[in-house]
């Protein structure tokens, strides 16, 4: 026992002395840090806790979560972008921070060039929600009212250019209408504002709303995507909002320049995770889907997002 530790110690000392490149074939040899540019307790945090409790079985190393909130996600992204490209620092983010922010802020990094994608872990499709006793029965009612009263309809969202704001902006652009956008600290408070009547419309992730939907306190008017999530609720495509709208993709990125074999190891670990029974069960319990997308595929999607968001921002904002 002691002998084994001594041997390990000797090996480690040798490695230290020889200054071997950290990214040898044996990657990973120390815990991997997953930077989250968001605060504790949010859905990214919860997802990361599930991932980090199971992925060690496939990576043979622990995964440490590091929360670096601040400046709308820029702080953590900057930290990951500037860390060594050795595969020991990864970023767990979503598409709005990742690809949209570059068009509305001056970023100290370039998201298009500073990262390569490892995997899309899952995504959350959004739905348009009104109160159960709202006069808006269909999405067309909303459009009609908003056309007649521009800037009057109060829409509660979770922060500028966040997960509820961007789909709303896409809707406003597609339909040529405008809402009175009222910010709240997160999706929970925004939903509460809808229920108490401070706002007339909001968005939410149907997976987290089932209880309110069942009792009829809120009503879904449309859900993101091309396939119906609820039988009698139309999709975004059916109501005329096309493209990659209303999806929050949770993605793992690595700094650009990470050695290809390290990227492969990581991509394979995330792929293997999808088959893990405990992972499947826990994600199911959290109400998240497991619509996994491999790194190369998501990389293509990211590039498309960058263009889409640029068009969106250029179209609807001015200085």
């Amino acid at each position: 026992m002691i002998r084994r530790h001594l041997l390990k110690f000797a090996a480690a000392a040798m490695m230290l002395g020889g200054l071997l490149s950290p990214a040898t074939a044996e990657y990973p040899e120390k815990p991997v840090t997953l930077v989250i540019p968001l605060g504790a307790g949010g859905s990214h945090d919860l997802n990361a806790r599930v991932i980090s409790s199971i992925i060690p079985a496939y990576l043979n190393q622990a995964m440490i979560v590091r929360l670096t909130p601040g400046a709308g996600g820029q702080k953590g992204t900057q930290e990951a972008a500037s860390s060594a490209a050795d595969g020991y620092t990864l970023l767990f983010t979503h598409n709005y921070i990742d690809m949209l922010q570059q068009h509305v802020e001056n970023l100290p990094y370039n998201p298009n060039e500073d990262f390569v994608s490892i995997a899309r872990v899952n995504y959350a499709p959004i739905g348009i929600v009104v109160r159960g006793d709202s006069p808006f029965k269909t999405f067309d009612d909303v459009v009609e009212y908003a056309k007649a009263n521009p800037g009057k309809l109060k829409m509660a969202h979770s922060g500028n250019w966040g997960a509820l704001f961007v789909p709303a902006a896409q809707i406003m652009k597609a339909k040529g209408i405008s809402f009175n956008m009222i910010p709240y600290k997160g999706g929970g408070p925004a939903m509460q504002a809808l229920l108490k009547g401070d706002a007339e419309i909001t968005m939410g992730f149907p997976a987290t709303l089932s209880s309110l939907l069942d009792t009829g306190q809120v009503r879904l008017l449309a859900t993101a995507g091309t396939e119906r999530m609820v039988d009698d609720v139309p999709t975004f495509e059916e109501i005329g909002i096309e493209g990659d709208a209303g999806f929050m993709h949770r993605v793992v990125l690595a700094p650009a320049g990470t050695p290809p074999e390290v990227v492969d190891t990581l991509r394979n670990a995330f792929k293997a995770l999808q088959e893990d029974k405990t992972y499947v069960r826990l994600m199911g319990r959290l109400g998240e889907n497991r619509d996994f997308m491999d790194g190369p595929d998501y990389q293509k999607m990211r590039e498309a997002q960058a263009n889409d968001y640029k068009a969106l921002v250029d179209d609807i904002t001015s200085n």
Partner: protein, 511 residues
């Protein structure tokens, strides 16, 4: 309903429930006592553990971490003047003064008993009145929040120090610090001077440690007298008579804390400060506050723990988490197949009541765990300074770093430490500054939301739709003026009264 309640009540009494709850309380207390390592972090890390447990075991386990963590936060506040959260700032004032007097054990005891009393009472109130509270919660939106935050700031500034003008100046300086970074409403850069490190704003934890802990350490190091004279005794335990003396204060703070908990978005910082202020104001010897008054510790701790019960209400009745802690609890509920929301009580009534019962009993369990742990914590002050100071600095730096993982925050920590020393020598209170900083952002945010809701016509909006906001705003200057006069009158004839006239009946220690 009652039947389910009865079933649930007895379902809670399981050995494994209590064992895991005890483990959660203990672990939460340990993590909470490390500055920078928040309760929230501990809950997030252990959330997956709860997935594999029975709901009546797993959720009480998380609740235990939560409750233990909040008390844990007051341990460094009392022992080394190092508040790990904004909620512990009010505790620091009197808690550390008691430690300096060699009464650290007494301070920890009163903190434990008042936090448990506050928590226990608000939990029971919450369970009994969950539906009325749920209706009440719906009455508060951003306009009311803005008005209450404004009122709180005025009350804190007026009652904080000897001079309201100086306190208000410090509070305004705190507001300035809250402007640094991206503005809460529009997200544009303010006062960053082109530095990316400032874009995320000024970090709270380095500020708290810098302003409260570093000047105290510097004071110890700067003392020319022999080190051995530093208060190194733990002191005796709390006496029953002292607890009785604080009872009115504890009850008052519990009511304040519960009420604050009902208003979404206010939280523990406001509760602790208002509880403390109210106690100081109601006391007939307000000058002893801040100089080692056990009532001060009791007031702050009871109020900040009483917030916990009502914050669960939106989660249980609507399925909407109001803050990050309840978001984690939502995750835990959902993972157990319990969907919080309107029908939760109809479908899973017994299980929910079992969890709530366990939550109430967690408090009783914590009396035992806390009471047994306090002697060990209290011994920290007996470590000699040449070891304690390096260790405290280690924790301060690690805590400041972990908060945001940014090495620049360490320089801010030192800067705040230096400012803390200057402010202390010039007799400017730093507490209003911290409060201005913590509450400034939410106030601006809530005001911005109110403006957006009003569509530009704020006055018409307030008159027609938000009478309660209007009432609070009109009352604010009156309350502020009244408190200012009262504090001025009470502190003037200082020499006529005995500061330490407190009755000390010899009825023996507790237990």
């Amino acid at each position: 309903m009652f039947e389910q309640f009865a079933t649930g009540f007895f379902m809670a009494f399981r050995v494994d429930t209590f064992a895991m709850m005890a483990a959660g309380l203990f672990f939460g207390m340990l993590v909470g006592s490390l500055p920078g390592f928040t309760t929230l972090m501990a809950m997030a890390i252990l959330l997956p553990v709860s997935f594999f447990l029975d709901p009546i075991v797993g959720i009480p386990f998380l609740l235990g971490i939560y409750k233990g963590g909040i008390f844990g936060g007051s341990v460094p506040a009392i022992l080394v003047s190092m508040p790990g959260t904004g909620a512990a700032v009010a505790t620091t004032a009197d808690g550390y003064a008691l430690t300096k007097k060699g009464k650290s054990r007494k301070a920890l005891d009163i903190a434990l008993f008042s936090s448990i009393f506050g928590d226990f009472t608000s939990d029971i109130l919450t369970i009994l009145m969950i539906f009325p509270i749920a209706l009440l919660v719906m009455q508060f939106g951003p306009p009311e929040l803005a008005a209450i935050l404004f009122l709180s700031l005025i009350v804190i500034a007026v009652t904080a120090g000897s001079s309201p003008v100086k306190s208000l100046m410090m509070m305004t300086a705190g507001l300035w610090l809250s402007f640094v970074g991206t503005d809460p409403v529009g997200g544009v850069e303010r006062f960053t001077f082109g530095s990316f490190d400032l874009r995320g704003g000024v970090p709270l934890l380095p500020m708290l440690i810098g302003l409260f802990a570093l000047p105290e350490i510097a004071a110890v190091l700067g003392r020319k007298v022999d080190m051995a004279q530093t208060a190194r005794i733990v002191g005796e335990r709390l006496r029953l008579a002292e607890l009785k003396r604080c009872f009115r204060t504890i009850c008052r703070s519990t009511v304040i804390g519960t009420a604050i908990g009902i208003v979404p978005g206010l939280g523990q910082v406001v509760a602790a400060m208002l509880g403390y202020t109210a106690a100081k104001n109601a006391s007939d010897h307000p000058e002893t506050f801040g100089k080692g008054e056990i009532e001060g510790v009791a007031a702050a701790e009871a109020a900040n723990n009483a917030v916990n019960g009502p914050t669960l209400v939106p989660l249980l009745t609507l399925g909407i988490p109001g803050d990050n802690v309840t978001a984690i609890l939502l995750g835990a509920f959902v993972a157990q197949g319990l969907r919080p929301g309107p029908q939760l009580f109809e479908e899973q009534g017994a299980t929910v009541f079992a969890i709530l019962t366990a939550m109430v009993f967690a408090n009783l369990l914590f009396i035992v765990i806390g009471y047994l742990s306090i002697p060990f914590f209290a011994r920290i002050v007996t470590i000699k300074n040449s070891m304690l100071i390096p260790a405290v600095i280690l924790f301060a730096f690690a805590g400041s770093y972990v908060f945001r993982s940014d090495p620049v925050d360490l320089l801010m920590l030192i800067g705040f430490g230096a400012f803390g020393i200057i402010a202390r020598m010039a007799r400017f209170e730093v507490m209003p500054m911290v409060m201005g900083f913590i509450l400034g952002g939410p106030l601006e945010y809530a005001f911005g939301q109110t403006m957006a809701m009003s569509g530009g016509d704020l006055i018409g909006f307030a008159f027609t739709q938000r009478p309660s906001m209007l009432a609070i705003i009109i009352l604010t200057p009156l309350i502020g003026f009244y408190l200012w006069r009262r504090m001025a009158n009470l502190s003037r004839p200082k020499k006529a009264r005995q500061p330490e006239k407190v009755g000390r009946a010899e009825e023996g220690t507790l237990k």
